[in-house]
Amino acid sequence: MGAEQAWLLAAVPAGMFVVLALFGRLLPRKGDFLGVLAIGTAFVLFFFVLHDFLHVGESNWPVVRDIKWSDIGSFHLRMGIVVDQITIVMFAVITTVALMVNVFSIGYMKGEPRYWWFFAVLQLFAASMLMLVMADNLLLLYISWELVGVCSFLLIGFYWEKRSATEAAKKAFITTRVGDVGLLIGIILLYKATGTFNIREIIDHAKSGDIGSTYLFVSMCFVFLGAMGKSAQVPFHVWLPDAMEGPTPVSALIHAATMVVAGVYLTARMLPVFEVAHGTTLIITIVGLVTALLTGFMALAQTDIKKVLAYSTVGQLGFMFVALGCGRPDAAMFHLMTHAFFKALLFLGSGSVILGTHHNQEMGKLGGLWKKMPVTGTTFLVGSLALAGVVPLAGFWSKDEILAATQTWSGGWVTILLGFAAIMTAFYSTRLFIRTFLGKPLDQQVYDHTHESPAVMTLPLVFLAILAAVAGLVVFNGVGRALGFPGGITEFVFLEEPERYHIVWSLAGGSVVLAVVGIFFGAWMYWGGSLVRSTRAAEFQPRLYEMIQRKFYFDELYQGMIDRVVLGFSFVVSWFDRYVVNDTGVDGSAQMTGYSGFLLKHLQTGKVPNYAMGIALGVVALAAAGLVVRG
């Protein structure tokens, strides 16, 4: 079993999806252990793939394998896999988090309706996501892209008896669909210019200047639209917070660690092409920056613990895009990995809180939970500190890399703005932790019934906490080599020239300062769980606060646009079709015909002299015509 059989990682969960979908209801325990088994197998297979990959050595990278799929004329479609460094990082992330989520779900989803279906779709999702990251051509990538989108739809709408869940699922699917339109247009435009869907061939064509620069710019902008949609970057961010309607393990897996990073993955894969298309990297950086800032603000005012984490996720994705825009796919992938671990941890932790407090996720009802939920609390603390970027936890190292990367943009404006976003990150993480776990409980009823979660849920939390703590150390070349890699993660991932990692003390110090400032400010604001200072801050600038709380009115804007423009246009078209095309055109011509009959029937007077007159006139007319023709 080598890297060439990496497709098995996707095939096993896919097969298990079919089994669970058809028979899940009938199996003992509704097949949840089979779900864990399938993902677990993928997890184990990953290590085989990794071993083989490292074994064949750098000169043989990437490992590829493809088969012929269909043919018509000169249109040859091949489907295949490519295993390179980015793929390996993604495999690690996906299999690990998916396994943790599957195990956690056994505890969290206990007793829920359609329990078997939950695990089935989780398998399909894992299979599709794995296929996405090893697709060697854009068509297969698009296929997987859509499949993960459908899984997301099915899982967000899992509790479909609730209107809000269904609406959220619909919103997610349609918002990402709009982005997907762009992606498909971009893919076909690239095919038209290069004659292939294969990613490596497209990169080669782009680098050798085969594609016109304006054409390439337009195509890559369309492709990036898809990435923006899937990764919920502004202005497509509106679906992700609503997606929190789904069960919390889903939020952890899909909307934190894996699916939403698909946009980052795609951009990283296609980065060589983006770099040839001048101007796109600036766009990517700006989009990421704006997103990180805006969502940072939005996270400050949310009171639902999952929503805070959702906005945080979008913001951290913004960080990753900034890194990509700066030409550092290694920094982006590194942050993707660390973020996956600590964000999944935080989400699962909040799931533990939700279950432990019997379905409460509003901070207004929580507080002081540390004593009652020590394991959850401790792991949550590790996650929060990692998110805030405290050394030596994982988040510190990756965020620092990104901040270092921003130096490519002269003037330092990117660094400063991103730094501000980092402070906000630390602030809202602190706020979240303090208001949930410290201070006095705000609702005594809830507090009295709170209990710690069972081991099947806390063990994944601990495992992820360990990863959140130490995973960042792989940035060091020594650590990387000890694990069998050619170097640290930045050196491993950076596809062009290896990036030898070295600490820039000034910047690293700066990152520490940012984190400390944010945490300090957060702690000061919410000391002891009191809301006195924060309420005063909110009242200081009520309009501004309301704007932040209403998420800058994006949802209202979109709803207005949909209602007035899209639905309005639809009503116009329907009206046009019914009243103009049909009633006037079709029915109208039918009525015209009927009416002409009505008029003509009056010729039948029944009076013989009238008919005689007709004959006489006819004869005269014919004679005249005859004379004219002859003469």
Binding site: K601, H602, Q604, T605, G606, K607, V608, P609, A612, M613, A616
Partner: protein, 102 residues
Amino acid sequence: MVPLDNYLVLSAIIFSIGVYGVLARRSAVLILMSVELMLNAVSLNFVAFAAYLDPNRVAGAIFAIFVITVAAAEVGLALAIVIRLFRNRATANVDEAASLKW
């Protein structure tokens, strides 16, 4: 010899009187009489042409005999219909026999 034109004009005049009668008269019998006028005008026309243009002076006359025969048969039939109509409706007014209308 009287010029041919005279006969043609005469026949045209008689024909026109006949046409007027068919189109403008209300009485069925009068209409039939006008039809007869038209037929006779046509016969006159045929005979005139035969007399003046035909070396054998025969073809037109034969046509005239055909016309007279057909006219006789047709009048017999037509008058039978008129009598029927009269018996059913107590009128020979053609304007009132207009039931086959929309």
